[in-house]
């Protein structure tokens, strides 16, 4: 029972983390109609910045804040230098250009930080477990991730749906020229949105950093998961991203934790232990296939394409 609750919380934590990535991806796609493969690179850069700044300042929180600002800056710089020229072009162009950016970022990181990878140690006040229910302990840090991501999700909702900037963002999504003609600096707005997406990816990266090692290519695997989430949730829908991210987080975590045992009940022990790793990594893709068969546009399609 303890294990199940713990794994459920892990699933929720992973799902919410994925949401941060998928939200940035879907925001950029929904508003600028831009496919950004380099989103995973921003996640990686966030983690590297955090590890560096934390070692530099000696404080985890301060390092994380600095890393967040730095990733935001990198994101905005990327938008101004490269992305801006890609709006309104073919999606294939986006794919190629951002693929080029991935190569660039991976090599830059190798050049600056070396190929070994880094680790980001947790401060002692986070590196312990807390009692969440009588008799059940859970990692304080993972709990902190859940709280932070939930707060960010709420802030994001308020920003997009309740503020003037959010209104302009949504207006820009439906008609870029018209918003520009009404005297809004749409270029700046897009730069800010792209920076926001980058910061969300960076936040996900720096929060994941203490759990995994910080290494080159760390953003690529998780980027694919973020893609799966945007497809399931419906591209351009933040609400869809949230639901799908939590769903995928649960399926992936619980699948890896319990699927091998389930399989062992049906198959022989040998067959189960060979098939389990392959099959449990397939689960989320099967889920995606089912969603596609039922609703090709995703669960919460924004309805605009």
């Amino acid at each position: 029972m303890t294990l199940i609750i713990e794994q459920c919380l892990n699933g929720l934590q992973f799902g919410l983390l994925l949401f941060l990535l998928a939200a940035g991806l879907t925001l950029v796609f929904g508003i600028m109609d831009l496919v950004n493969l380099a989103h995973g690179s921003l996640y990686m850069i966030g983690a590297y910045f955090a590890a560096t700044f934390a070692a530099w300042t000696g404080s985890f929180v301060l390092g994380a804040m600095l890393a967040l600002v730095a990733t935001l800056m990198v994101g905005m710089a990327v938008e101004v230098i490269a992305m801006r020229r890609l709006y309104g072009r073919d999606h294939l162009d986006h794919v190629l250009a951002t693929f080029g950016l991935i190569l660039f970022f991976d090599e830059s990181v190798r050049l600056i930080w070396g190929p070994e990878g880094m680790s980001l140690p947790l401060p002692s006040w986070l590196n312990r477990s807390v009692q969440i229910l009588p008799g059940i302990n859970y990692s304080a840090y993972r709990l902190a991730i859940i709280v932070v991501t939930l707060v960010v999700a709420v802030l994001l909702y308020v920003l997009v749906m309740r503020t003037r900037m959010g209104m302009l963002i949504r207006a820009g999504a439906s008609n870029r020229e018209m918003v520009g003609a009404l005297g809004v600096n749409i270029k700046l707005l897009y730069t800010l949105v792209f920076g926001l997406g980058a910061a969300l990816a960076g936040l996900a990266g720096l929060m994941q950093a203490p759990i995994l090692t910080v290494q080159i290519g760390m953003g690529e695997n998780i980027l694919i998961l973020a893609f799966v989430i945007t497809v399931i949730g419906g591209i351009g829908s933040i609400r869809g991203a949230l639901v799908a991210a939590i769903f995928v987080g649960f399926v992936d975590t619980l699948g890896r934790a319990f699927f091998p045992d389930l399989l062992r009940m049906v198959l022989s022990k040998d067959a189960a232990s060979t098939a389990a790793p392959a099959l449990s990594s397939m689960l989320i893709y099967l889920l995606m296939a089912i969603v596609l068969v039922v609703k090709p546009e995703g669960l919460f399609s924004a309805g605009q394409k």
Partner: protein, 338 residues
């Protein structure tokens, strides 16, 4: 001047002839490494050509094309591991497995279009990657060594490097011809019609989904053949050959060479792989007089140049090498006329 004698055709004929004559040059004392490199280029050109069929002619932006290289390669690798070396078994199985995978993936992915299609093909290819990386019996992450190349009847011996090169080259030229015939057939015209306007094609009565699926399966099967060749070439298969960046490389080859052009993928494969091989040397050569040791170190990081270069190609040379040749040809013709 006749229509045939254009700059583009001269370059094409020169390239095709050079590829045929390459082993002769190597035998006459050229660098043996060239043969290995060009076998690889030829195989990847075959894979890129199959991608061009769906990406260039069909307008289907598949980002999971490397999966078939992996499936074709692993079909050969797994059969060899189980003691079946006959190429008459291995290759048909490789083709059939790729075709089957393409049929399943295509049937699901083609229900969507645009960005969804890109992301879904990518995700499914990654799924195949994880499945194969999870096969502990066949090496898992570490890959699988192939101790014996595919066996065919007597005169054909794939472990002879020159023979193997010519087999690959023959298959490449055959595939270019096949694709050329295919896209100019009624089937190919429907596929190209779908690229420009799917809705209209449906309105005049073509079941476009079936046409696209058939095209998708043909491309996947051809790429599976490239996978079987690649496994024989390296005597080794690992999940790395089907990692998603490999799909990205294939797309780069197609776009760099020129989409929807019969020889484009060949141009692209030659250009990209030669570039990859040469860039570190060029950086070292040009940089050393100015920066000394630093240039040698910088040459390890050549991808830092590759990335932005790709961006520039996308921004400024959208029609690729094929388009460039056509442009040069037009200029030359204008000059000749005046």
């Amino acid at each position: 001047m006749t229509g045939w004698l254009s700059v583009r055709n001269i370059v094409i004929v020169a390239l095709l002839a050079a590829l045929v004559l390459l082993p002769v040059y190597v035998e006459l004392g050229g660098n043996r490494f060239l043969l290995t490199l060009f076998t690889r280029i030829v195989i990847l050109a075959l894979a890129a050509g199959s991608l061009n069929l769906i990406l260039g002619y069909g307008g289907m932006m598949s980002f999971g094309h490397a999966a078939y290289i992996g499936i074709g390669g692993y079909a050969v690798g797994i059969l060899a591991h189980e003691g079946i070396f006959s190429g008459f078994v291995q290759w048909p199985v490789a083709l059939a497995a790729s075709a089957l995978f393409a049929a399943v993936i295509g049937a699901l992915s083609l229900r969507t279009r645009g960005v969804y299609f890109i992301m879904i093909t990518l995700a499914f290819a990654q799924m195949a990657y994880y499945i194969i990386a999870g096969l502990a019996r066949y090496g898992g992450d570490d890959g699988l060594t192939i101790y014996k190349r595919s066996q065919f009847v007597a005169p054909i011996d794939l472990s002879n490097k020159v023979q193997f090169y010519y087999v690959c080259l023959a298959l490449l030229y055959g595939s270019i011809y096949l694709i050329w015939r295919l896209v100019n057939s009624r089937f190919g015209l429907v596929i190209q019609g779908v690229r420009s306007n799917d809705v209209r094609m449906r309105a005049i009565g073509f079941p476009t989904y079936r046409y696209k699926l058939a095209c998708f399966v043909i491309a996947g099967t051809l790429c599976g053949l490239a996978g079987a060749l690649l496994a024989n070439h390296t005597d080794f298969v690992s999940p790395g050959i089907m990692y998603w960046t490999r799909s990205g490389d294939l797309i780069i080859m197609v776009v760099l060479g020129g989409m929807a052009s019969p020889f484009g993928p060949l141009f692209g494969a030659v250009a990209l792989l030669l570039f990859e091989e040469m860039l570190p040397f060029v950086i070292k050569l040009v940089g050393t007089p100015f920066f000394g040791e630093a240039a040698a170190r910088a040459s390890e990081y050549w991808q830092i140049i590759m990335g932005p270069l790709l961006l520039l190609v996308v921004l400024f040379a959208r029609r690729g090498i094929d388009g460039l040749l056509a442009k040069v040809g037009a200029k030359v013709r204008a000059k000749v006329r005046t």
